[in-house]
Symmetry: C2
Subunit: 209 residues, 2 copies
C-alpha cells in the first residue's frame, strides 16, 4: 500500500517512470493533508480557555475531519488501483472479434471506474471545506496559517481530481455518463474554489501587517 511507504519512497515512486502513483494519488494525499491540518487546529483549540465558547462545535468538526482524513488516505491507494485496472484492460488479448469487443467493454468499464475515484475525492473536498472555514474563523488563531494551508491543500486536491476526471472522460463513449460527470465536476470545483478564496483572503488579511 502506498500509505505504508515512507514519505521519501512515496516521492521517489511518484517521480519514477511508472505512471502510477501519479496526479490522482497525489491529489488524494493533498486532501488527506488538508483534513489532517484541520484536525490539528481543532486539537489546538479544544481545552483552551480562550476558546471555551466553541468547544462543542470544534469537537464535532474534529470527528468529521478525522473521518474525512481516513477516507482521503484510502483514496490515495484507490486511485492507483483504478488506474492499474485501466492498464490491465488495455493489456487484454485482441486477436479475435470476441476478444476485441470484450477488451473494449473492459476498457470502458475500467475508465468509468477511474473517473469515479477522483469524483469521490472532489466530493470529499467539498464536504471538508465548511469545516476548514469553521476552524479558520473560530479555532485557535495562532494556527490560522495552518487552517489556510488546509484550504489550499483541499482546493489543489479538488482541481487535481477534476483534471483526472476530465482526462478520462475523453475516452468514455457513454455520453450521458460523460455529461453528468462534467456538470458534477464543474459544480464541485466552483464550490470548493469559492470556499478556498474566502479562507485564503481571510488569512492574507489577518497577516497584512
Amino acid at each position: 500500500m502506498l500509505t505504508s511507504k515512507t514519505v521519501s519512497d512515496f516521492l521517489t515512486e511518484t517521480a519514477s517512470n511508472s505512471p502510477a502513483p501519479g496526479g490522482g494519488s497525489v491529489s488524494a494525499l493533498a486532501a488527506a493533508l488538508g483534513t489532517a491540518l484541520t484536525s490539528m487546529v481543532c486539537r489546538l483549540t479544544i481545552g483552551k480557555k480562550k476558546y471555551a465558547d466553541v468547544q462543542t462545535e470544534i469537537e464535532a468538526v474534529l470527528l468529521k475531519s478525522e473521518s474525512l482524513r481516513e477516507k482521503a488516505a484510502a483514496l490515495i491507494d484507490e486511485d492507483t488501483f483504478a488506474f492499474n485496472k485501466v492498464m490491465a484492460a488495455f493489456a487484454l488479448p485482441k486477436e479475435t472479434e470476441d476478444q476485441k469487443s470484450a477488451r473494449s467493454a473492459a476498457i470502458q468499464e475500467a475508465t468509468k471506474g477511474a473517473t469515479l475515484v477522483p469524483l469521490q475525492l472532489m466530493e470529499l473536498c467539498a464536504d471538508a471545506m465548511p469545516f476548514v472555514r469553521v476552524v479558520a474563523e473560530k479555532g485557535n488563531q495562532n494556527s490560522l496559517s495552518d487552517a489556510g494551508v488546509a484550504a489550499l491543500m483541499l482546493s489543489a486536491a479538488c482541481e487535481g481530481a477534476a483534471f483526472n476526471v476530465k482526462i478520462n472522460l475523453g475516452s468514455i463513449n457513454d455520453s450521458e455518463f460523460v455529461s453528468t460527470l462534467r456538470s458534477k465536476t464543474d459544480a464541485l470545483l466552483r464550490s470548493v474554489q469559492s470556499y478556498a478564496q474566502e479562507i485564503s483572503a481571510r488569512v492574507h488579511a489577518a497577516f497584512a501587517g
Copy 2:
C-alpha cells in the same frame, strides 16, 4: 526525520495536538510532490519517438526537477526544526533582566529563521514553475493532467509558505527585515500564481471536450 515516516504516520502526526509538523512542513511536502510529478512526466517523455525533438530539453528539465525535489524534501524537516527552535526560545528562563533580554533576542533570531525556511520554499516553487510549463507544453500529453497537478501542488505550496512567512513577520521587530520579506513574498507569490493559472487554463482547455 519526517520523510522517514510512513505517509500514514506523517498524516497522523500532522493531525495530532502538536503544532509541528504543521502548515509549513505540509507546504514543503506539496512542493516535493509537485517536483516529483514534473520528474515523472519527464521520464514518461524521454525515449518516446513521438517526443524525439524535445529529448535534450526534457532531459535537462529532469535534472533540475530532481534537484528541486531533493531540496523540497529537505525543507519538510527544516521547517519543523525551525519551528521547534522558536518554541525552545520561548521556553528559555525569564527571571532576571539579563535572562529576559537574552530570551527576547533568541525569540527574534529564531523567528527570523522560521520565516527564512518558507521563503526558501517560495523561491524553490518559483524556480520549479518554468519547468512545469515546459513539461505541460512539450512533454507526453498523456500525462498532461499530471503536469497540471504538479502546477497546483507548487502553487498551493508557495501560498502556504507565504502564510508561514507572514504569520512570523508579525512578531519580528526588525522593520527593514520585515519590509524586505514582505515584498519578496508578494513578488514570488504573484509569479508562481501567474504560472499556475496559465498551466491550469491549458489543462482545462485540453479536456474541455
